[in-house]
Amino acid sequence: MVLRGSLLLWIAGWMVAAFLWAPLVPVLGETTRVLYFHIPVAWVTVFALAWSMVHSLLYLRRRNMEHDHHAMAAAEIGLLFCVAATVSGSLWAKAMWGSYWNWDPRETSIFFLLLVYAAYLALRGAIDQDERRARLSAVYSATAFVAVPFLMFVVPRIYFTLHPDPLINPRGKIDMDPRIRVVFFALLAGFTALYFWILSVRVRVARLERRSQEA
């Protein structure tokens, strides 16, 4: 319980610091605060997808249902974080550029991840036998593993050139004030710890489901 209590205080504390202690980024103004939520959540989205895909590959190699539990749990959590990232990104775009969606490269790649997550989970939902579900979703995950690098890095760049109207992209390389950097990375660590906590609970639930099915 100590670990969980410290996570509670850690994130709460740094939240307060984000509002009261850290200065604002000149260009972003008040919207700097979204940065502390949007980017960590986007990072967890990508990290969870990588976690899910790695465990899918491990399942194909070792055929241990434990890997399938992790692949599924990470994908479910990843989808939640991905929705949060997309929504917060869109709110931020509204505040910054006046429109909820303008195919900004980073927004686009996060949105594409949403499609991958949705497809993966829809596929799992459409298969009944657990061994077949684990195997086929792992094969799909491995195929997406090939597609995601192209999806994340190439498509936005190409897509960006398709819309020549110049878009200022302040979130490119902004040199962070040391205090902002500290708060940002503290919250990044906090959100990642939160992800691992939810993951562990979801995996334990999956084990229970399997045990009740088998018993």
């Binding site: 594409f112 596929l123 459409a126 298969i127 792992a138 799909y140 597609a147 192209f150």
Partner: protein, 224 residues
């Protein structure tokens, strides 16, 4: 006595021939897909009218028609095997890799047949400016290979799900997005006189990556 390893090449060729003969006999898949391509094509050109000057929109429309024609038809080769319960026979006579490659080549051929009909018609109906044929066909070819490779793996997966083909478009779309983006960008560059190289390299890289992954994944597709 059964012969040794070389049968996988013979198996791929035999499966491809069987697929073509089966498609020719039933013709169900081909007619449906050609009809789909033509209706979406006429729908698009009717709604948009002549667009000879906006080649960027033309490129996008062309590839959207091709993409959705592929999404409407390329899972059929697997769904048919599962629904006809002939997958057991196929798995007994050929290795998973041979099955995958045979079906992949068939999907590619199928796609090319659709393109032979749809692309010229598209260019005329939309009054598109004359394409730089080598660049245009290069992008079309590389894009088709990538489309077929992705569609084959995803088709094999969703053919074993409850909804059969229903999930195919949704599941295949994320994997096909890079092809759509690169192909549209390449076709656009070809029309606007730019270099097609980067997009072509990208499409080939993606097609090769998908093929390599497929060869490793085919073995896990049918195990029950």
């Amino acid at each position: 006595m059964p012969s040794d390893g070389l049968n996988s090449r013979a198996a791929v060729w035999a499966i491809l021939r069987k697929e073509c003969r089966s498609e020719w006999r039933t013709r169900y898949g081909l007619n449906a897909s050609l009809l789909f391509a033509l209706t979406s094509l006429t729908g698009v050109s009717f709604a948009v009218g002549r667009l000879s000057d906006r080649t960027d929109i033309l490129s996008a429309l062309l590839w959207i028609v091709l993409l959705f024609s592929a999404l409407a038809s390329l899972s059929h080769t697997f769904v048919r095997e599962v629904e006809g319960r002939t997958l057991t026979l196929l798995r007994l006579v050929a290795s998973p890799t041979a099955i995958g490659l045979g079906k992949l080549l068939f999907n590619l051929l199928f796609l090319l047949v659709i393109e032979v009909v749809t692309v010229p018609l598209f260019l005329t109906l939309m009054a598109a400016p004359g394409p730089r044929w080598p660049a245009f066909l290069g992008v079309l070819g590389a894009g088709s290979v990538a489309l077929a490779a992705a569609a084959t793996v995803v088709g094999a997966i969703i053919s074993q799900t409850r909804g059969r083909g229903a999930l195919f478009a949704g599941a295949a779309f994320p994997v096909l997005l890079p092809v759509l983006a690169a192909a549209v960008s390449g076709t656009r560059a070809q029309w606007s006189g730019g270099a097609v190289g980067p997009e072509l390299r990208l499409l080939c890289a993606y097609a090769v990556a998908l093929l390599a992954a497929s060869l490793l994944l085919y073995d896990h597709l049918w195990e029950d």
